[in-house]
Amino acid sequence: MDLNYTPEERAFRDEVRAFLAEKLPKDVASKEKNDKRLTKDDHLRWMGALSERGWLGVNWPVEYGGPGWDPVQRHIFDEECTAAGGPRILSFGVFMVAHVIMKFGNQAQKDHYLPRILDLTDWWCQGYSEPGAGSDLASLKTSAVRDGDHYVVNGQKTWTTLGQHANKIFCLVRTDPKAPKPQQGISFLLIDMDTPGITVRPIILLDGEHEVNEVFFDNVRVPLENRVGEENEGWTYAKYLLTHERTNIAGVGLSKEAMRHLKVISGDQVKGGRPLIEDPVFRAKMARVEIDLMALEMTQMRVLAAAQEGAAPGAESSILKIRGTQIRQAITDLSRRALGPHALPFQSDALDEGFNGETLGPDYANPVAANYFNIRKQSIYGGSNEIQKNIIAKMNLGL
């Protein structure tokens, strides 16, 4: 065992750093570090810089235009990007639908869609959840009925993250309502958002953010060739996505960055005439979360190393998801608490660039409480922590 980076890995890290120093747009990094709102263009400029360098398809094989990195390199890349203020790479295209297409798509689909993901022609969103189908995703009702060489899609998807920016949506739809089990009879469709019959409506979150949407389908005609894989086999593909080793599921880099920010806040806030960071009670709370984060990082490294040796990803990704979200939430909780009374004032429009008013309290205070509330979502989406525990109980423990 050797827990240090090899000379090659250190050289790789320097290469990533040099790239970020030159190509990560400074204004985007500054927004990201100060919890400001990112625009569509901000995401595109950052991912565009990665794309130009050939680094956007982080975990793609070389044959499809990926950099061919091993898990340790990906970890280094993630850590350096977040430390520099690079926003999270939007996962729906690069980390989700791309892998389904690579594994189950036909050649024409691979040739058409994959390059468009890498050059940012397409912005994908994910149409899985429905009002009645959240944790019990297999109970989804949106229907697709064949009509000649098209499917006619009717129904509703919800919680569609950043669907307002998307030109494509990948959907799970029911193609066989009579199948004996709900998991059967589902198909995986790729749909153009500008097809007639699609309506997108915003859902505003509790902190005032427009992050998610409802997407309605009213007799939407989708060519049969937009189906990935076999008809009625969509559940297999959806599950592949859920268990497929997902880069970044633990969010170690982002949590480290959040931890650094917490130290800035607690170093500046004052309690009893001294920096809060020197207060033994508060410092002990910070230490505990930081230790948990170290354990998470080591666990992630062990999982990555095992994956590199060819081990099949199992319940480990559930462990990383549970702990990763809990730790991130614990950090946002401490940041909020560090502010004391200054956590209260909140002006949502101050998160936009070009805001020329003034917020109350220290500069860093405004978004902190809102961020704490927003991050509650992490233990709900992508398979709630309860569902992750059910998976571990069943798959690992045989309960």
Binding site: S129, G132, G134, S135, D136, S139, T158, W159, I203, I204, L205, L206, D207, G208, Q269, V270, K271, G272, G273, V281, F282, R336, R337, L339, G340, P341, H342, A343, L344, P345, F346, Q347, E358, T359, L360, G361, P362, A369, A370, Y372, F373, R376, K377, S379, I380, Y381, S384, N385, E386, K389, N390
Partner: protein
Amino acid sequence: MDFSLTEEQRLLKESVDRLIADKYTFDERMKIAGSADGYSEQMWTTFAELGLLAVPFPEELGGLGGGGVDLMIVMEAFGRGLVVEPYLATVVLGGGLVEALGSEEQKAEILEAVIGGARKLAFAHGEPDSRFELAQVRTTATKSGDGWVLDGRKSVVLNGAQADDLIVSARVSGDLTDEDGIALFLVPKDTEGLTLRGSPSIDGGQAAEVELTGVRLGAGAELGAPGQAYPAIEQVTARGIAALCAEAVGAIEATNDITLDYLKTRKQFGKPIGSFQALQHRMVDMRVALEEARSMSVLAAAKLRADRAERERSVSAAKSLIGRAARHVAEESIQMHGGIAMTWEYSVGHYCKRLVMIDHQLGDVDHHEERFVRFVDGT
């Protein structure tokens, strides 16, 4: 021991509960909180007409002579309704300070206007670096002829922008954190040298930052003997803490009710999600948290007239326990709802924001745990 309410308290409870249930619906609350003023003047008038603004004041000053329990009844209902009107700022804190320290004329004039709904107050006490330390005051008051000159900065002044007058604390002598040497002044908001910036707060409330630059006050602006205000500040803050505790209990109760109802109606995997034991036990824990919070709220309310050490120990114990309970209920209720609780349209997220933010007012869990130890040790 007797935990029952008097006849008058029962009537008060009935009337305020009915008001909130009928008039302060969630939709109405969202409209009010989102309005330019951040509260409803019409609602304030209704509060005045029902006598709610008179509850804690002595009868000889036109009040109802209510104690901690009466205040608790009102604030619990306000917690259930997520009321954003400046009751804590005006009636509990501002009015409380006037009652405790004002001259006969000040009390008569100001409290009459407060009780009638014509005048609103805010307590401008906290400063950028004071966190929750009640005795830490950097703002200065310097004698000038008959009057005073105030200089300093106050932050996160609850409902500062909604008030007609601010009650400003300033130091006339002593070191930064001395209990001795703190004075209170009545400062009309339009006084020259006073600038105020208001902001909404994350929980639907309002806060302000106040700068005092050479603010000249005439004789008679003092509230009580200059330099001797600390005991009243502490005592009135204790009342404010008890009020916040009761508000939290009301909000916890509402959040629990909504969550329980959701667990019984939301179906996944063909059954109500409340049939999953992983959620059942957690709903039980939320219920336990409510009972404990209520017990401590009652304790705080009942001890407001106890001697200093017992009063302060009790309110600090209550505020710290309720801070934990409120956060627990907030986080669990969001989680057990799933995505729906993350939305602006659904009420639970707004209850949770208020529940968590109560811990940022008048001292958080850590502050009150430390303070509790000090008062238990008698140091």
